[in-house]
Amino acid sequence: MTSTGPKTLFEKIWDTHRIDTGTSGAGLVAIDRVFLHERTGAAALKSMAAAGRPVRDPARVFAVMDHIVDTRIGRGDGTLMEGGSAFITETRAAAKAAGITLFDVNDPDQGITHVISPELGIVLPGVTLVAPDSHTCTQGALGALAWGIGSSEAEHAMATGTLRIEKPKTMRVTFTGQLAPGVTAKDMALALIAAHGAGGGAGHAVEFAGEAVEALDIEARMTLCNMATEFSAMAGFIAPDAKTFEYLAGRRYAPANFEDPYWQTLSTDDGATFDTEIVIDAASLAPMVSWGTSPQHSMPIDGAVPQGPQRAHQYIDLAPGAAMLGTPIDVAFVGSCTNARLSDLRRAAALVKGHKVADSIKKAMVVPGSSSVKRAAEAEGLDTIFTEAGFEWRASGCSLCFFAGGERFPEGSRTISSTNRNFEGRQGPGIRTHIASPETVIASAVAGVIADPRELAKESAQ
């Protein structure tokens, strides 16, 4: 049923994509774009080939090597992970056989799925885009309905051009006011999840709105939407505005222009209602950092560790009441689909310029989100700023956001990381991860302990 009256953005996109099959049950929803990566892509394509099912429209299916690919400079198909290169070679062969577009290991457009899809204009406002990757919700920043699925559903999407899916409930998260200096989209996401829980968005498609969201640039919007899956939402998205269309203009797979009146319809109508509404005062937010083993275990950086599950305190080795500032760290990591775009690296470089990573840090690295981000950063000299400060500069990929490529941080390390997950063992066995903004990672790397980026910014300004 197509609803009448004022509609939310979600309902508009949903209604445009509903296919009436005249039967009951979960509806069919048309899928405009599918993106695969080598961790799960080969499995889906091989399984389809084994079942004799072709990809219905290969021109709208893309794949990239990002998860397992090595991020050391000069890489090839080899990985430190035993058997890792098979994921790469098998995905390459399966992509070729299926006739889909592949951005291979050393393709100039290679990068993390959710970084390159917007860069290339593959995701567009109003489209449905799915990928067997939970952080697909990142791409909702462009006004798309984008969500993560499993491999079986990816096969379904490629074979039929549709998914069978129950309509989710709608939620609007409104950030009123403006962020204070030194507070970022990452902090907005962590504050939301800390306040409403890692399951707080379950069953909902979440629209982010409000002054503070409108003020974010497109890349910061991606950071906010990226974390919607850590809120257990089906998707997170932001209505497209002039910034969105300006960002997409001229990108390879984007339309020649956005003059069709259709593009102006992609917003929530006045008077439309949501199943759930959350309002957060953006002006009251501080830089956030996680203290435990779920993104919901996050806190303002200048606060004391709250009481949480005993297991989390034990794993992370921080007692309730402990100050977060001053906690010694071993590793600093800037990277991932959350925070490794050019604007992230520019802010990080501006903060670290003229400083050095503390001697006590065992490993500090910056991994650009895409090969194109890497080239642009190098053209601006950001790589030199990072390496002079003591960071390693890498080729693009998911890297040590998790443990896929076989690289390890030193045993038992405590890391400060611009990534999205602080789960037990996520970055390797026994690794204790604190997630935060790139600014907080930089400030902490320089101090050797968890540090407030606002203090370093003051120091740099003097």
Binding site: A59, R60, D133, G148, S152, G161, P309, F402
Partner: protein
């Protein structure tokens, strides 16, 4: 897919909130592009005191003698959160788990369960807790979970219920609607021509 009708099993409690798919099957345990060879890596960080040596940790619930042969696990809130990896469900199935009862599920994990013949059941936390180590019967046709004298009704949408009961290949089911999909696509090409791309590579 193996149809799901009824099963009787001990309910093994892994009663933690936010059990994530990195814990269910860590990235480093996904060693091939296939869907098999995953059972040994199931819950590896919790199941083994020494992961490399595969030394069982006797304090982890699945390793306890009373868990032997268990086909049902119990979880807390937001079970299966994190990575979309379907390997988490493939590992559970290969190990022998056919049903997960939790306070709530992360959406991608839940959808992956249904695609692989694993029944995800949501019950209030107190009811989940009370099932710990009980011999329970899960009856999908009757939509009931029974433990001794206690019964709970089991809520699931019609389509997943049918898919599980009949072990349906859902792609075949959808392909039956191909004429409707094609008609929709033809109309959409006119309405939103910019969605459709020419193959370039």
């Amino acid at each position: 897919m193996t149809p799901f009708t009824t099963l009787t099993s001990v309910a093994v409690p892994i009663l933690r909130d936010n059990v994530d798919t990195d814990a269910i099957i860590p990235s480093r345990e996904m060693k091939s592009t296939g869907r098999t060879g995953l059972a040994e890596g199931l819950f590896a960080p919790w199941r083994y005191s020494d992961v490399a040596a595969r030394t069982p940790d006797p304090t982890f619930e699945l390793n306890m003698p009373e868990a032997k042969g268990g086909q049902v696990i119990l979880g807390g809130a937001n079970f299966g959160c994190g990575s979309s990896r379907e390997h988490a469900v493939w590992a559970l199935v290969e190990y022998g788990i056919r049903c997960v009862i939790a306070e709530s599920f992360a959406p991608i994990f839940r959808a992956n369960c249904i695609r692989n013949g694993v029944l995800p059941i949501t019950l209030p936390r107190a009811d989940v807790d009370a099932l710990a180590w009980q011999e329970i019967t899960v009856d999908l046709p009757a939509q009931m979970v029974t433990a001794g004298e206690t019964t709970h009704s089991l809520t699931i949408e019609d389509e997943p219920r049918t898919m599980l009961l009949e072990g349906l290949d859902v792609i075949d089911l959808t392909l039956k609607a191909l004429p409707a999909i094609e008609a929709w696509t033809d109309a959409d090409r006119t309405a939103r021509p910019w969605v459709y791309l020419e193959k370039t590579a």
